[in-house]
């Protein structure tokens, strides 16, 4: 039996996904510990929380662009940003901790599914029913992640971002819908269906004597 070595790109992606899976698992364990400490009031109200604002902010800042020995006047008008809480109240930190406890397992799951898929491809098992199931699970997990992100960001907006007040900047109300995640899920789902056709062709090829 001739053993064909997988292409270098596949082997690199496989090793990379192994490293990412290891790191994200460590992050997940750290988040579990973090949540335990949060719920035992270890941090009190002293957490210095940095969190992403789900909406963009409007502001006006004049500046210069140095290009081709020219000074071009520009204005900064919109930006994505984070907010920093000084001594975050425990009830806010707990909610963020809980959100992390939900979102990181999605990351672990996605990386594990992707790693298993790449491992199968690396071993020459590309058009198999096993891989179709993996691709479908990847797509459904991505849809789950998208749903959670959209709901969480909306809650965050109405609960916190909407009530923020600054002197110089204006918080917009355009909450992103994270359609990129949904389109990726759709693409993977379509890919799973292409793989179903591939499996049928592979089976026909294998059973042609």
């Amino acid at each position: 039996m001739v053993i064909i070595k997988a292409p270098l790109s596949i082997r690199i992606i496989y090793w990379f996904s192994n490293i990412v899976l290891g790191l994200i698992t460590i992050v997940f364990l750290a988040i579990i510990v973090f949540n335990i400490l949060l719920y035992t009031d270890f941090f009190g109200n002293d957490m210095q929380l940095h969190t992403l604002l789900p909406v963009k902010v409007d502001f006006l800042e004049k500046g210069n662009l140095h290009l081709n020995n020219q000074d071009i006047q520009v204005e900064l008008v919109e930006a994505s940003t984070r907010i920093h809480f000084f001594n975050t109240p425990n009830f806010i930190t707990k909610k963020v901790g809980l959100a992390l406890l939900v979102v990181v397992p999605f990351g672990v799951g996605l990386t594990w599914l992707f790693r298993t898929f790449i491992k199968n491809v690396k071993n020459g098992e590309t058009f198999t029913v096993k891989n179709i199931t993996l691709l479908q699970k990847l797509a459904y997990t991505l849809v789950g992640l998208w749903l959670f992100t959209v709901i969480y960001m909306r809650i965050f907006y109405y609960y916190i971002a909407k009530n923020l007040e600054f002197e110089q900047v204006l918080i917009t109300d355009e909450i992103p819908n994270y359609s990129g995640i949904l389109f990726t899920a759709l693409f993977i789902w379509v890919l799973a269906h292409i793989f179903i056709a591939g499996v049928k062709l592979q089976e026909e090829q294998d059973l042609t004597i």
Binding site: E203, E204, L207, T208, I209
Partner: protein
């Protein structure tokens, strides 16, 4: 499948084993077994050619249309 492969019948007629046929046509035992059990989805002309040559028969003697389709 409505088409039946009469490989076992032809092997019996020629008093030949599957191993001998495998060596004669250069096709693995597992592939010939798939063909014999009627699990094959298709058969190449080159395969049919080799089997007919070794068994000294016509393709019509190997393949038979039974009529009842599943």
């Amino acid at each position: 499948m409505a088409v039946i492969v009469n490989l076992d019948v032809m092997l019996a007629k020629r008093k030949m084993s599957l191993t001998e046929l495998s060596a004669g046509v250069g096709i693995t035992m597992s592939n010939l077994s798939i063909l014999k059990k009627g699990k094959a989805k298709a058969i190449r002309f080159s395969t049919l050619d080799k089997i007919c040559e070794v068994l000294d028969c016509q393709p019509g003697e190997l393949l038979e249309y039974s009529g009842d389709q599943h």
